[in-house]
């Protein structure tokens, strides 16, 4: 028997619009874990102020703020976000304080960081 099918009737299942930010993405209560974030800090993303916690990965701070597009691909300019979150795949490259090709998933957040989406290979540091 195909277990999946048995549980379903119609072809389309509760197909409502999902709202990524409908609920706070930060976990406040958890049955097993206790999160004690660092101090709140302000940083900049594409010129806009964003808050996050000191020392958490830049990608996590952006994600919690509802920002998932971190860069655009080189040839087809497709939006990209993080994939592995441990520094293996380079999907999460952003520009931080003028430096391109920074892996946001393993870079700790600091106060006042200026972060930009990276387009393609990113501008060379000397240009910025």
């Amino acid at each position: 028997m195909s277990a999946g099918i048995a549980l379903f009737s119609g072809n389309h299942l509760h197909l409502s619009e999902v709202d990524f930010m409908e609920k706070e993405l930060r976990i406040s209560e958890h049955p097993v874990l206790d999160f004690s974030p660092g101090d709140k800090v302000q940083f900049w993303f594409e010129g806009e102020p964003v808050t996050g916690y000191l020392g958490e990965p830049v990608a996590a701070a952006l994600h919690a703020a509802g920002i998932r597009v971190l860069r655009y691909s080189r040839r087809l300019h497709r939006p990209r976000g993080f994939y592995c979150a441990i520094g293996n795949c380079s999907e999460c490259l952003v520009e931080i304080d003028g430096e391109p090709n920074v892996r946001s998933c393993i870079t700790p957040l600091a106060e006042g960081m200026r972060i930009r989406r990276q387009a393609g290979e990113g501008r060379a540091i000397a240009d910025s």
Binding site: D19, L33, R80
Partner: protein, 375 residues
């Protein structure tokens, strides 16, 4: 240049066990890990472990790491350097290491590579959209940093990792809209599957994902049933609405430093991809280079810890820190536990992989079996 009797690359369960064992025999050990905190994959694991009882099957992954760190922390001859990415190994055995924007060199007398694994991915239209995440990434975001990957998540893959992460998503207050699995049966243990079933989460066996829908990020997923030939059946296409898709489709060994070191590498699909040749002491076929854990072939944490112990013991023995007699006794003890762990039906795939590896050609970096890339 920094020198050390033993350098371990990777502070996961394998690397930490290697350091604990080698330092127990009074070898000087330095462990480098590129992460900000030691622990490897285990720091994300909030569930109680499967594996052998002697290897702490009832303990949560995060607590196993604490035990290992305590053991190492007591010793002056061992230290762990976090935030240090080992990026190269040269022919003369010198390592290039990047830490906090600086680059430095180190030369160990013995090197233990315990770099763990990288997550595999699947190719389908939209698989590059933001919101398609690896299972390990979801765990990291959620269990380490306390951030939900989305509000409604589709899980792809019903092996142990897929099932465990699905359950952890629910614990974190996320809706899991379904678990998709191409095989007829669930690959993971029934304990994990029944937890998911009890929560009435649909498990779509014999299904696959055809597409991730969305413009700038994931807004839905299209799935379909697969037929006997594994081809999707068009009439069964359905769309699920979700804002994230989690891929739990396996791991492959992270072996860059082994290629660089000139280890004989073979493609063994049972072990997750390219793996280094190794002897029973976890020595590779390059002098002074040892391997352990997922980097030597995908298994699980208990096996990684035992392999780490063996590698640490062997490296210390080759440095003259352990007498032949002590070495023989201890190696046999750990070897027996490891064989025990692999003896059951769940160890069947690994046993097959290891026996293929034994027969694979040496002294060459060749592609065995035509290299099915299976990403």
């Amino acid at each position: 240049m920094l020198t050390a009797e033993i350098i371990v690359v990777g502070a996961g369960p394998a690397g930490l066990s290697a350091a604990a064992e080698a330092s127990h025999w009074n070898a000087g050990v330095t462990v480098f890990d590129r992460d900000a905190t030691p622990g490897g994959q285990l720091v994300k694991q909030t569930h109680r472990f499967f594996g052998s009882r002697a290897q702490r099957a009832g303990t949560r992954g995060i607590d196993i790491i604490r035990i290992l760190l305590d053991e190492i922390g007591e010793r002056e001859n061992a230290r762990i350097v976090s935030g240090a990415d080992v990026v190269s190994r040269y022919d003369d055995g010198v390592l290039g290491i990047a830490k906090a924007g600086h680059w430095f060199k180190a030369k160990p007398e013995r090197l233990i590579l315990a770099t763990g694994a990288a997550e595999k991915t699947l190719a389908f239209p939209g698989s590059d959209l933001p919101g398609v995440y690896g299972a390990g990434a979801v765990q990291t975001l959620m269990n380490v940093h306390g951030v939900r990957p989305g509000q409604h998540v589709l899980m792809v893959g019903a092996g142990n990792i897929g099932l465990i992460v699905a359950y952890q998503l629910i614990q974190a207050g996320v809706e899991v809209v379904g678990v998709v699995e191409a095989s007829e049966r669930i690959g993971g243990y029934w304990v994990h599957a029944s937890k998911i079933r009890r929560l009435k989460i649909p498990i779509f066996t014999r299904h696959t994902i055809l597409q991730a829908r969305g413009k700038e990020s994931v807004e839905g997923a299209i799935i379909a049933e697969v037929g006997g030939d594994w081809a999707p059946i068009e009439s069964t296409r359905r769309e699920l609405s979700c804002d994230a898709i989690c891929l739990a489709v396996g791991l492959s060994p992270l072996v860059d430093l082994m290629w660089q070191s000139g280890c004989s590498m073979s493609w063994i699909s049972e072990l997750g991809g390219y793996v280094p040749a190794r002897d029973p002491s976890m020595g590779s076929d390059v002098d002074g280079v040892y391997v352990a854990g997922d980097a030597a072939g995908i298994e699980e944490a208990s096996a990684a810890m035992m392999e780490g112990r063996i590698a640490g013991l062997s490296a210390a023995h080759s440095l003259g820190k352990v007498s032949d007699e002590q070495f023989g006794l201890r190696a046999e003890e750990i070897g027996r536990e490891l064989a025990n762990l692999r003896s059951g039906p769940t160890g069947e795939v690994v046993r097959r992989g290891l026996s293929k590896l034994e027969r694979a050609p040496r002294n060459s970096q060749v592609l065995v079996e035509g290299g099915d890339s299976r990403c």
